[in-house]
Assembly symmetry: C2
Homo-oligomer: 239 residues x 2
C-alpha cells in the first residue's frame, strides 16, 4: 500500500484524567476502578445527538493515540513489564505504546453521560494520560467482545497481587484537609497497590523514595517489607 494511501485522523475528544505522567499509569484499563476521568468532545464532534442511546451500555471502548510516545518511534520488539522487563517479545504480541501508528485501546466503565456543552463522558478504570487524543468511542458489546474461552499467552490470567498500602501521619493529615479526600485516597491506593516500580528495582534499594504527579499532587512513597507507605501528597503548585 503506497504512502499516498496514508489515512488522516482527527481527534474527536480529549481525555481528562488524573494521570499526568506515564509512571504509575495502570498497565491496562479496569485495574483501578477509582481512576475516574472525563472524555470531553471536541468540535465538530461536540454534538450530544451523537451520544443518544449510549447510557444503556455499562462499558465503552476508547481508541486513542499514545501521543507522548510518537516522538520516540516504534520498536519491533519490546520488553513487557509483565514479563519482568527482561524478556523480549514482538510488538504485536504486546500492548506496548511504542507500536506502529501508536494506537491504544481501553475498555472503561461508563458512569455518566453529561450533555454539556461540551458533551462529556464520565468514566472509570482509566489508564490514559491526561490530554490523550481520542479517535473513536464504541459501545462494549458483551456478545462479541467478552470472549469467555480466550487464552492470554504470556500475560497472567489475573493482575499481580496488590501491595498493601498505608498512609503516613503527614499524608493522613493532608487527606483530612481535602474536600474529596476519600476519592483521592482510593485513587492513590488503587494505583500504588499495582506497584508501578520497574521490575528491576523490586527487592533493591528498600529506602528509595518514589514520586509521581497524580491528580495535581506530588505523591511520594516507599516500599518496605510490610508493604507500601505513602509519605506525602503535596499539591504540585502550592500557592
Amino acid at each position: 500500500m503506497e504512502t499516498s494511501q496514508d489515512i488522516r485522523f482527527e481527534p474527536i475528544a480529549v481525555m481528562r484524567s488524573p494521570f499526568e505522567e506515564k509512571f504509575a499509569v495502570p498497565r491496562q484499563s479496569g485495574l483501578v476502578p477509582a481512576a475516574t476521568g472525563e472524555v470531553v468532545f471536541l468540535p465538530p464532534f461536540d454534538d450530544s445527538a451523537m451520544l443518544q442511546g449510549l447510557r444503556g451500555f455499562s462499558h465503552i471502548w476508547l481508541t486513542f493515540v499514545f501521543d507522548r510516545c510518537v516522538g520516540q518511534g516504534w520498536r519491533a520488539k519490546v520488553r513487557p513489564p509483565r514479563l519482568g522487563g527482561n524478556r523480549e517479545v514482538g510488538v504485536w504480541a504486546s500492548r506496548s505504546p511504542f507500536r506502529p501508528n501508536f494506537l491504544g485501546l481501553s475498555a472503561v466503565r461508563l458512569i455518566e453521560v453529561v450533555s454539556g456543552p461540551p458533551p462529556r463522558l464520565r468514566v472509570s478504570g482509566v489508564d490514559l494520560l491526561d490530554g490523550t487524543p481520542i479517535l473513536d468511542i464504541k459501545p462494549y458489546l458483551p456478545y462479541a467482545d467478552a470472549i469467555a474461552d480466550a487464552v492470554g499467552g504470556f500475560a497472567p490470567a489475573a493482575p499481580v497481587s496488590p501491595l498493601p498500602v498505608t498512609f503516613s501521619a503527614r499524608a493522613e493529615a493532608t487527606l483530612a484537609q481535602i474536600d474529596d479526600g476519600a476519592s483521592l485516597r482510593s485513587l492513590i491506593s488503587g494505583v500504588l497497590a499495582l506497584d508501578p516500580r520497574p521490575a528491576y528495582r523490586r527487592g533493591a534499594e528498600p529506602d528509595r523514595v518514589y514520586g509521581v504527579r497524580l491528580a495535581g499532587r506530588n505523591v511520594r512513597w516507599v516500599v518496605g517489607e510490610a508493604g507500601l507507605q505513602v509519605l506525602d501528597l503535596d499539591p504540585i503548585d502550592p500557592d
Copy 2:
C-alpha cells in the same frame, strides 16, 4: 485541538477475507467461525520478529479502517440493524462504519502465525471486507478485555437465532466438485444463517432471490417458511 494536530496513519497489513461486498458480512467478529481469512503484513512491517510471542494468544484485536465507507461521510445518528433499522441512535452508541475516523475494531481467533514472506496471520471469525487496511494488532488480554459484568445496552445479549440453511440439488452438485467444498459449505451456512436481509425486507417478498459475492462465488438464495435455501454458487469468473 487544531487541524494541524491531525495524525497520519499507515496501514501495517491488509485483510484477505472471503467477503467481497458489504452485504452479508457478519455484524460482528466471532459470529461465523467458518469465516477465515489472512492478515498479510505490508512493508516495512513485514518483519516476523514483530510477531514473536503472538502464538500463545488465542485471540487478537484488529483495528482497521472502514475504507469502503470513507467516501460516503460519517453520520451523527444511525439506524442499527439490530434495532430493526427503524430506530435511531447516536453513532457513538453503535458500531456503525459510518463514524468519524471510520475506525473498526474486531476480535478474531488466531489460528496460525505464518512466517512468510510476507508474514501472515490466519484468523477466523472474520467480519472484515477483503482488502481492508489494518492499522494495529493487539493480543486479546482476557483479564482486561473480557468484562464479565458488562451490560450491552440495546444490543441483545446473544445474536439473533440462526436460520436453518439448506442447499438445492444444484448447489450440492457444485459443492461436490470443489476441492474444499466442506469449508465453503460451512462458510455459506454460517454467513446466511445470520440472515443478512435488511430488517424491512423480512416477512415481505417471500420469493425474492438474494445474491452476494462470497469467496469468489455468486451465492444466491431464497428464504421461505422452512428456512433459507441456497440455490446456486457459481464462480464469479467462470472461464
